[in-house]
């Protein structure tokens, strides 16, 4: 929401996009731009892959990233597993962990 740029061109806009022709023009602009942006994302993304492979090919050492969602859930799974096994062992197989929830 950039008031300055919008407002500067407001006079033009409010007239330019009225009626069917305006809507059609907007469709053309819109679909074209959306494609341009995603094509750029794709091709710049590919360049990025090449760049990373060439210049930073190895994983950073401080690897165990907590924040990464996947690994967090992996840890959770491990923890759940441990607790489940502990319960099993300790209760002689009678106890069972129904669900473990993190608040």
């Amino acid at each position: 929401m950039n008031s300055l740029s919008i407002l500067a061109s407001a006079a033009a806009n409010s007239e330019g996009f009225e009626g069917l022709s305006g809507a059609l023009l907007l469709m053309a602009i819109g679909m074209f731009t959306v494609f341009i942006v995603l094509l750029l994302v794709i091709y710049v993304g590919k360049c990025l892959i090449l760049f990373v492979n060439k210049f930073v090919p190895e994983e950073v050492k401080e690897a165990p990233k907590t924040a990464s969602f996947a690994s967090v859930q992996a840890v959770d799974a491990v923890t759940a597993d441990i607790i489940a096994k502990a319960v099993n062992t300790l209760t002689g197989g009678k106890g069972k962990v129904e669900s473990i929830k993190k608040i």
């Binding site: 929401m1 950039n2 740029s5 919008i6 806009n13 330019g16 996009f17 009225e18 009626g19 069917l20 305006g22 809507a23 059609l24 907007l26 469709m27 602009i29 819109g30 679909m31 731009t33 959306v34 494609f35 341009i36 942006v37 995603l38 094509l39 750029l40 994302v41 794709i42 710049v44 993304g45 590919k46 990025l48 892959i49 760049f51 990373v52 492979n53 930073v56 090919p57 190895e58 994983e59 950073v60 401080e62 165990p64 990233k65 907590t66 924040a67 990464s68 969602f69 996947a70």
Partner: protein
Amino acid sequence: MDILENIYGMTAIGKLIADPSYIVMIALGFVLLYLGIKKQFEPLLLVPIAFGVLLANFPGGGLGVIAADGEGCVEYLKNGVMVRQNIYEDMTIPEIAHDLGIMNMLYYALIKSGLLPPIIFMGVGALTDFGPMLRNLKLAIFGAGAQFGIFAVLIVASQCGFDMKEAGSLAIIGGADGPTAIFTTLKLAPHMLGPIAIAAYSYMALVPVIIPLVVKLTCSKEELSINMKEQDKLYPNKTEFKNMQALKILFPIVVTTIVAIIVPDAVSLIGMLMFGNLIKEIGNSTSRLFQTASNGIMNTATIFLGLCVGATMTVDAFLNLKTIGIVAGGFCAFGLSIFGGICLAKVYNLFAKKKINPLIGATGLSAVPMASRVANDIALKYDPKNHVLNYCMSSNVAGVIGSAVAAGILISFLG
């Protein structure tokens, strides 16, 4: 003075009898609660919205949002005199709270200002994984094709009694993205916020119904049986990823830059989405921020966004013909977006050797991750070995970018 008379004057009963349309709105609140709680329609947002509808429509409760008119003014009784004030220029936040109640205060400070949708997008970004998209970058293009519904419905709506700004707000429902739809509507046609938000979230909840419907109408059994993994074996993807983590850190920065340069008006949304994603991917050193962005901040924003959006659904704002147009137009936008994605996939298959399952086009809609799950279920029906989930996630996540870009274009040219 009589006790009972005093009590009757205090209650809302008189007002409910005088204007039964309140009761219609209260009933609507119950229906939305039913959909959110029992039918599990996007409960995280629909339950607060429904409760907001309820709170706003008890006469005398003072919890309904008073919409500013075209000049930004509101009229209300103050010390027995009817006053008319510009709510942006003349009324401070404490004055809004004092004269119009806390719901209006929250609405004008947090929602109408456009603050909460980007903040929710920060949380969405923190919960999004761009990994599947990076692994199948090419498929991201279907996130563009599936914006077709937005612009198609824009044309139709602008010919059916909606002005261009209203048509744009209505059309953005086809983006299948809640915060994007709310953000766009706030900029273009805030008086239609309630119905548009509810339509958007309801149709997102109905993705398991709408996608199969459109797919059945447009795709053949052969197309739906295209097995992506087999295609990958036939025409192997040579890309290797030597450092996914670095890639995932660089990607949100690069996407922000591209979008900000091409569609500056989309940068509030995309920028915050990518900031949220960045603090997630950096890992340990910003995990404190990631935790709060994806939990505390996002949940708080969701509660207040929901309640306030619901509270905009007052009798005047909802019980008019445009609401029917929004419900119908929103559905068309949704369906046409899915159709657009599917068509693009079909056109692609005409020219390419390596075929693409049109379901991957359908998920360009966004509605992450439900659309992908639904598409995967459909694919499994036609071929039990056809796991398309990861491919769908690529176009699906790209659809979020695509609809934010479309929103930026609408705001830029119509705002």
